[in-house]
């Protein structure tokens, strides 16, 4: 499946409309509450939330417009409110107005920094992904060369069956059928690599958890074989679909799997086992676990594992797990690590599913 849209905005148009509607609902509710409560109660000051929230997804002019609307509402409800101490009214109003104006000015000034932060995070995620692809070049080359080798073999065999006296058409047909299926296999490897490497904007869709896992495994099968890691995947029966960006989830999986493989470098080859478990956690969220029997975790730095530029590897950059956390949290999930009783580490993350109540 191809994702064709190239939207420069980090937030999709629907997401934007939804957020805007939420803001208006908030303003309407605040207006009613402000009007109905007494003058001493300075609920109106909560309008500061409007420019603060709007900053992450609206252009500067729209923020100004919304803030002006807030000021209008503040003053209108002041006129409409009848109960309470008339002396407290003007002071409370003035404080609220100043707060909204101050918040708007501040937001407009720091807004470029917020946007730069968002862009930088996306850029970082992409760089990390391309980095990982670089590390996986050998594996990917192998995955493409396997079907190519098979195609060359079958093609040569097919030619020879045709040249035989008399020609063995049945054998030749079988050889050609294998050529076609191996060519399709090579094409699907290329398609998977491309979808991982392209700078596509986040695109959430309903995913089959097992397919998502197996697709990424197909890309790194050789990496696992080279490191002599045996793999098992446990998938829960009747797993609900997961709402997430497939490429990003695969990046998270890739990251955790490569870490696990690296952690098992000192484990005897015959014992190297990677276990991926797919199940459902509390609240109907999908729970993915990647379990290894490698060196395990040093108990004192479990908390820091996911911090950017924190690394336990001699040549690590400390980006992988930070990007992992960023991706999972952007999806409204959580990521954490646990030590296994019999040695090794497990990394877990959750993602929303069709059974999750979306807050």
């Amino acid at each position: 499946m191809e994702i064709a849209t190239h939207d420069p905005q980090p937030v999709s148009p629907t997401g934007k409309a939804l957020r805007l509607a939420g803001l208006f609902a908030f303003m309407a509710g605040l207006f009613i509450a402000d009007t109905l409560t007494d003058l001493e109660i300075a609920i109106g000051v909560l309008y500061v939330a409007v420019p603060l929230v709007a900053a992450s997804f609206l252009p500067a002019r729209a923020i100004l417009l919304l803030s002006s609307l807030c000021l209008g509402l503040l003053l209108t409800s002041y006129e409409l409110t009848t109960g309470g101490d008339p002396a407290a009214g003007p002071i409370n109003r003035a404080i609220s107005v100043i707060a909204v104006i101050a918040a708007t000015v501040l937001v407009l000034r720091i807004r470029p920094a917020i946007l730069a932060g968002i862009a930088a995070r996306e850029q970082l995620a992409r760089v990390a992904r391309v980095n990982m692809l670089g590390e996986l070049t050998a594996s990917i080359a192998h995955e493409v060369n396997q079907p190519l080798a098979a195609i060359a073999n079958s093609g040569n065999a097919g030619l020879r069956w045709l040249e035989a006296q008399p020609p063995n058409l049945d054998k030749a047909r079988q050889a050609l059928a294998r050529v076609v299926s191996d060519a399709e296999r090579a094409a699907s490897v290329i398609a998977r690599v491309r979808s991982l490497a392209r700078p596509v904007p986040p695109h959430r869709e309903w995913l089959n958890a097992l397919d998502t896992v197996e697709e990424i495994i197909a890309l790194i099968r050789d990496e696992l074989a080279r490191n002599q890691v045996s793999l098992s995947i446990d998938n829960m029966e009747g797993m609900p679909p997961v709402l997430a960006d497939k490429v990003q989830v695969q990046q998270v999986l890739l990251n955790l799997i490569l870490n696990a493989v690296e952690a098992m470098g000192t484990t005897p080859p015959a014992e190297r086992t990677l276990r991926i478990t797919i199940g459902v956690a509390e609240g109907g969220r999908a729970l993915f676990s990647v379990e290894d029997n490698g060196v395990g975790l040093a108990t004192d730095n479990v908390e820091k594992l996911f911090d950017a530029f924190h690394t336990t590897k001699p040549d690590g950059m400390g980006i992988g797990l930070a990007v992992t956390r960023s991706i999972v949290e952007t999806h409204g999930g959580k990521v954490w690590a646990t030590a296994n009783e019999e040695g090794g580490a497990s990394f877990h993350f959750t993602l929303p599913t069709s059974r999750t109540d979306i807050p």
């Binding site: 080798a149 050789d222 002599q228």
Partner: protein
């Protein structure tokens, strides 16, 4: 000196975890009239009954479980001397150096030219035939050597170093006549026509490597 020459049909062993590569190799070999035995893993190959036919092993480098290079080492440990042709999806130089140093016939990177593989296979089969013949000869010589008695073995050991009968007699503390008699027995039992033959046979009896 009669050597058994196995003119048997050669057999190619293929150890490759990728099914489509494995199947395509079988078909390719079948199209040139070479039968193949297929294995999906190194362990499967080691478990299989050995076959008394000249042949070679076409071996993938990267496989889950035991890798191709490890299988090569394990075969050396077990004294399995089947010539090996490595095939790999992504070969690096250290890997090929290790394989060739350990006696591989060829190291091919996938996708390889068909002719390169077939040439390597012919070379490997020829090598295996030679090895099997040499083994058969060595077996025969060992059988003959086993018929010598202790005194004859002592004489043989000294004859091949170039000592004269008189010197041998002095070393072994026996008469020169005894040495002559034992020497004649050795020549007869080892079926050696000349001293040069005897020296060559003794050389072939020495353990290889």
């Amino acid at each position: 000196m009669t050597a058994t020459s196995p003119a048997d049909q050669p057999l190619i062993h293929v150890v490759e975890d990728d099914r489509s590569v494995r199947d395509s190799l079988e078909d390719l070999l079948a199209s040139v009239g070479l039968p193949a035995r297929l294995f999906a893993s190194a362990a499967e190959f080691l478990r299989a009954e050995p076959v008394e036919a000249p042949g070679c092993l076409v071996l993938d480098v990267r496989m889950p479980g035991m890798s191709g290079l490890e299988l090569q080492a394990e075969m050396a440990r077990r004294g399995l001397r089947l010539p090996i042709i490595f095939i790999t999806g992504h070969g690096d130089i250290p890997m090929s150096v290790q394989a060739m140093k350990a006696g591989a016939v060829e190291f091919l990177t996938k996708p390889f030219r068909e002719q390169d593989l077939l040439d390597a296979i012919q070379k490997a089969i020829a090598l295996d035939r030679t090895q099997r013949q040499a083994d058969a000869v060595a077996d025969e010589l060992r059988r003959r050597h086993a018929t010598l008695n202790e005194g004859e073995r002592d004489v043989l050991a000294l004859v091949v170093t170039g000592l004269l009968n008189k010197q041998i007699a002095a070393r072994l503390n026996v008469s020169e006549i005894t040495v002559k008699v034992r020497r004649a027995q050795v020549m007869k039992k080892m079926q050696a026509a000349t001293l040069a033959d005897l020296i060559r046979y003794t050389d072939m009896l020495k353990p290889r490597e």
